[in-house]
């Protein structure tokens, strides 16, 4: 989904809304105002604004998503320990209730803003925008956004970040990518966490989990990681360094990056924006 034209119109569905297509007129043959906007257009505009804010400060924003209890906060603690002398980090925490996670991060000496969503099952771009008002970005290198623990809804909301990291702990089952394809399609990186427990689990095969990810046509790398044994921590921090370096290059070139999820819509956005297509299209009434 894009920021301005809602270009979920792709080569595969464009014929439906083009003139004469079955979505260009109503049941009784009358014309309809064709809108062609993503349903989350408002969120996406805010996300675009957030991303500009991150880019202006040269910050890499990484969204961590997973089911509850897969180790997002523990990963942040280990990441802070590994990178505290190298980069300035900050964290935006999302939970339904409590400041527990923000307190864990602050105890490591890193600024953390806690968003409590009440009953909302995901963070959206407006919540992150509000948090950014409380989080000075000057001097910050990487902002982690720890999304609400949920393998469904967070995948649908662009927050204005640059990369999605999806955690899958080995206690959850190696078929999770097949069960939650929308979430795992959105991953720029899959982290298989708590791998120290593999020694006592006989029903989780990391290769099967990665194979399930490939079935989603995802090229995202998969890193096996344990914050207890430190397996994979070097690979994870190396990925972060590469992404921060790439972000700095983009910023120098006045470019930006969007997380995985909807590359076709993004590609089409540029094509349609280039042709200055109007936001509304009036189609002739059918007799």
């Amino acid at each position: 989904m894009c920021d301005t034209c809602g270009c979920n119109i792709t080569p595969g569905n464009g014929h439906l809304v083009a003139s004469g297509g079955k979505l260009s007129r109503t049941e009784d043959g009358k014309a309809a105002v064709t809108v062609l906007r993503g349903l989350l257009d408002e969120n996406d505009l805010q996300a675009h604004h957030n991303r500009e804010h991150f880019d202006r400060h040269g910050v890499l924003a990484v969204n961590l998503m997973s089911s509850p209890g897969s180790g997002k906060t523990a990963l942040l603690e280990a990441t802070i320990d590994a990178l505290r002398h190298e980069f300035k980090l900050a964290v935006i925490e999302g939970d339904l209730e409590t400041e527990n996670d923000a307190q864990r991060v602050r105890a490591k000496g890193v600024p953390a803003i806690q968003i409590t969503t009440g009953s909302a099952c995901h963070l959206d771009a407006h919540m992150v925008h509000d948090a950014l008002h409380l989080l000075p970005l000057t001097g910050i290198d990487i902002v982690f956004i720890e999304n609400v623990g949920n393998l469904v809804c967070p995948a649908s909301f662009d927050l204005g970040h640059h990369r999605n990291v999806t955690l899958l702990s080995v206690t959850e089952g190696d078929d999770k990518p097949a069960k939650y394809p929308v979430m795992f399609r959105a991953a720029d990186l899959m982290l298989l966490t708590k791998t120290d427990l593999l020694a006592v689990l006989d029903d989780f095969d990391p290769q099967r989990a990665e194979a399930a990810l490939r079935q989603l046509a995802s090229e995202a790398p998969a890193i096996r990681l344990s914050v207890r044994s430190h397996e994979g921590l070097d690979a994870w921090t190396a990925w972060l360094r590469r992404e921060l370096s790439a972000q700095r290059q983009r910023v120098a070139q006045h470019a930006s990056a969007r997380p995985a999820g909807q590359p076709d819509g993004h590609r089409l956005h540029h094509r349609m924006a280039a042709s200055a297509r109007p936001g509304y299209v009036f189609l002739p009434a059918k007799p």
């Binding site: 792709t10 569905n13 009358k30 105002v33 349903l39 408002e42 469904v152 649908s156 097949a178 046509a217």
Partner: protein
């Protein structure tokens, strides 16, 4: 369970379109939803009456067009329909495919009631 958020956003967009065209009311709303959009069409349909209540769309029907998942293989060029968790090429089995459709969450069109009839006329017709 974020269908209510989506529905509210939908209604906000529809209200903006209605105001722009001076519409008295909205007769129907058409949206396109693909299986990889992350929203459940049935839940959306059930949530919709809550979101439209008291708005310019409070009698408008919601028509949901279900779009199939289609992928094109980047290796062999074959196009086929696919299941949400199996987006590989059905001919050569390669996983390097590009999604052609199936992740849509799109407000396609709105049918408005205006005092002077619908704004559409052949003169104004534009094809994107």
């Amino acid at each position: 369970m974020h269908e209510l958020s989506v529905c509210r956003s939908l209604i906000a967009q529809v209200e903006a379109v209605a105001i722009q065209h001076g519409a008295r009311a909205v007769r129907s709303i058409r949206i396109c939803v693909g299986p990889l959009s992350g929203i459940d069409p049935d839940l959306l349909q059930r949530t919709y009456p809550l979101a439209r209540a008291g708005t310019v769309a409070d009698t408008a029907g919601l028509i949901i067009e279900h779009l199939p998942i289609r992928v094109r293989c980047e290796r062999c060029g074959f196009e086929s329909e696919a299941a949400p968790n199996r987006l590989i090429c059905t001919r050569c089995g390669d996983w390097h495919t590009r999604l052609l459709s199936g992740d849509e969450m799109l407000l396609a069109s709105v049918e408005l009631e205006t005092d002077d009839g619908l704004p559409a006329s052949p003169d104004q017709a534009r094809i994107f």
